[in-house]
């Protein structure tokens, strides 16, 4: 144990003495969190971007469709749309042109009949002058049209127009407010940019901190100091333990300093579940150091190690949304297989005060990932610290 203690202190001393340590591990993350959090706050600040209900001009040319049209006035839609009836299409278009209303909808003749008979049925939609208002109105009305499509499907499936009509009435009565409208850029995100980037940057810099362990091994191998340590009465497992614990402790301290500093200086709320927070830090650090040891076992030189590990860090940070939260499609799905995703989501859910089950799920995946990487690093660790 004394030998391991000596190696841990040695590792910490070397790290503290390195010029780039303070800059890279402490100052830079705090600076980046501040810059990204403030520069991109508009993207996340939904409170300030609350959309006023759009005034929608409605012309119903089919009396039988009044129940469909009535869905636009449902309680759930009132947050997004304020419906104003017009007698004719011409007057509605005039009001739209003059900017009196933000959007126009015309329910054409025989619409209900076409819906219930399973034929193609459309509303006429007239965008206004404001692109944001158009986006919100279209999103809301698309949700409603989805509902109507359901009725159309029911009509086809039941084969009886009256049964389908009854289904519409039932659905309308029971779920008048059931139309779900979710604007595309607001789904599931109600945290600030500062919180989002604090979590992402914390994870990214913890990965960098873990990289120090691997880099230390490879550099000692190159400088032949590793051979010199091997020449002393020291077992390879002691060397590995010294690197793991020394650099792991430094990374863990870095995590705590970033969390405390962002709380003290930026007022960032990391949630009140401190043990979970410590667990998230511990798992992320363990995974990061393990990954670094694995790469150190495979990379022959320091330059190759740095290139591989930095590519991994940048790649994982990118696909997990660390640089921009709006990736979408394949990349977003790919991100769900990255260490960064589960680590950053663990921190974000802790910040949001998400349910215990959600936090536990994320921490479990993160912990299992760390355990898997740790086991692989133990298997390859002998090769990593070998001097031959």
């Amino acid at each position: 144990m004394r030998t391991i203690g000596t190696l841990i202190l040695h590792e910490l001393r070397r790290m503290i003495r390195a010029k780039e340590t303070f800059w890279l591990l402490l100052f830079l993350p705090l600076l980046l969190i501040f810059i990204l959090g403030n520069a991109l706050s508009g993207f996340f600040d939904y409170e300030n971007r609350r959309v006023e209900p759009i005034e929608v001009g409605l012309v119903v040319l089919d009396e039988a469709s009044s129940e469909f049209a009535g869905l636009l006035r449902a309680d759930g839609m009132a947050r997004w749309l304020s419906v104003i009836d017009f007698e004719s299409k011409e007057r509605m278009l005039g009001a739209l042109k003059d900017g009196e209303i933000g959007y126009g909808v015309v329910v054409p003749e025989h619409f209900a009949e076409r819906v219930t008979s399973g034929k193609e049925a459309r509303w006429e939609l007239y965008p206004g002058q404001n692109a944001d208002s158009n986006l919100v109105a279209e999103s809301a009305i698309e949700g409603l049209l989805d509902r109507i499509n359901f009725v159309q499907s029911a009509a086809v499936a039941l084969g009886d127009p009256r049964a389908a009509e009854a289904a519409v009435r039932t659905a309308s009565a029971a779920e008048g407010s059931g139309v779900k409208v979710v604007p595309p850029d607001m789904s599931g995100r109600d945290y600030s940019a500062l919180q989002y980037y604090a979590a992402q940057m914390l994870v990214m810099f913890l990965l960098y901190a873990g990289m120090a362990a691997g880099l230390s091994i490879v550099e000692e191998r190159e400088a032949r100091t590793l051979e010199r340590i091997h020449a002393a009465p020291v077992r390879p497992v002691h060397i590995l333990a010294g690197k793991f614990a020394g650099d792991g402790l430094a990374a863990f301290a870095q995590a705590l300093i970033i969390i405390v500093c962002t709380f003290a200086f930026y007022g960032l709320d990391w949630g009140s579940r401190y043990l979970h927070l410590l667990a998230a830090c511990f798992f992320t650090v363990a995974a990061s150091v393990s990954l670094a040891v694995i790469v150190a076992a495979l990379a022959p030189k320091a330059r190759a190690f740095q290139m591989i590990f930095m590519t991994l860090i940048m790649g994982m940070t990118f696909v997990s949304g660390g640089f921009t939260p709006e990736l979408g499609g394949f990349l977003e799905r790919l991100g769900e297989y990255s260490l960064s995703f589960w680590a950053s989501q663990s921190f974000i859910h802790l910040m949001l005060g998400s349910a215990d089950s959600v936090v536990h799920e994320h921490l479990t995946v993160l912990g299992l990932t760390a355990a898997g990487l740790f086991l692989i690093s133990i298997l390859l660790g002998g090769k990593a610290v070998s001097h031959e």
């Binding site: 003495r17 400088a223 091997h230 020449a231 009465p233 020291v234 077992r235 031959e388």
Partner: protein, 311 residues
């Protein structure tokens, strides 16, 4: 009793045999010079003695402990001065010694004493709080040595410790080796500079292609090539009669003439130099230049292998 004993040691790198059934004993208190060209297997042999490389075949014992079975016990008795300068940019000279001293189990006042002694021994006391970045090449070499002797090992192994340094630092290091030996340490000193090995070693082993091709004291080894001692005399107007008279001299083994240059092979050339010069002068030839070529370990290596040590 031998401090180090190698028995039929073999080390392979793939198909290449790096150390080929090497058997060798190194006695307590000697400075043993291990000489050989680059790639001869010197460093590999040393690393196996230090427990840094796996022994493929055979056995190595240090102070009665088999390296394979008790590597940590063996390592604690050895101080290795590696060929490369293996130091940390971030640590001062004293911190280096404290770190390595702790790895060898030193603690407290004993550690402090040993650190001070090692710094004094290598002449680095005044630089104890400086980092290697500010050191000259020679100072780095000395710190490299200090790290290996801080725990006062029984056996100090120096693997080419004078590579790339100035003559003054080289002399300082060679004197340090002698002083370490006077203080009781057994030294294994490897080099491909035969002058160094000749200067400090009590016994020498010459290794080539992983095999020990010669072993003994310097005097014993040079006996094998003493007939190669010669005088090379460049002359003008040398007559055959002079050459014949030289050949008849009792100390001369043989004499060869190439135009005006005469090569005279004889034992103890300096003792008979006057005789040779007298004969040449007597036959009215003029001496242009003269040199005495004394055989050394380089000559021996050339004789044994047909190659130079520095090839």
């Amino acid at each position: 009793m031998s401090l180090v004993r190698l028995r039929q040691v073999v080390k392979r790198y793939g198909a290449k045999l790096s150390v080929d059934h090497l058997s060798l004993s190194i006695e307590r208190g000697e400075i043993f010079g291990l000489l050989g060209p680059n790639g001869a297997g010197k460093s590999t042999t040393i690393k196996m003695i230090c427990g840094l490389l796996r022994i493929d075949q055979g056995e190595i014992e240090v102070d009665g402990e088999p390296v394979r079975r008790h590597p940590l016990a063996v390592k604690s008795k050895i101080g290795l001065v590696p060929q490369e300068i293996a130091l940390y940019d971030q640590l001062t000279a004293a911190e280096h010694l404290r770190f390595f001293g702790k790895l060898y189990g030193l603690r407290g006042s004993r550690l402090r004493e040993r650190v001070d002694e090692a710094l004094e021994f290598t002449g680095l006391t005044e630089h104890r709080n400086e980092r290697p970045g500010s050191f000259s090449g020679g100072m780095k070499r000395r710190l490299n040595i200090a790290c290996a002797i801080v725990h006062q090992p029984k056996l100090v192994i120096m693997d080419e410790p004078t590579v790339g340094i100035d003559p003054q630092s080289r002399n300082h290091i060679l004197e340090s080796v002698r002083e370490l030996n006077r203080r009781g340490a057994t030294i294994i000193y490897t080099s491909h500079y035969m002058e160094e090995v000749e200067a400090i070693s009590t016994r020498v082993g010459i290794i080539d292609h992983g095999r020990l091709i010669a072993l003994g004291t310097i005097r014993e080894l040079l006996t094998q090539v003493e007939e190669q001692e010669k005088l090379v005399i460049e002359t003008e107007g040398l007559k055959d009669a002079a050459v014949d008279e030289i050949r008849r001299h009792a100390s001369v083994r043989r004499a060869e003439r190439r135009d005006g240059t005469l090569e005279v092979y004889l034992r103890h050339a300096q003792s008979y130099l006057q005789d040779m010069l007298y004969i040449i002068a007597k036959h009215e030839a003029r001496i242009v230049s003269l040199r005495n070529e004394t055989p050394n370990l380089e000559t021996l290596f050339l004789t044994l292998t047909g190659r130079n040590l520095r090839d």
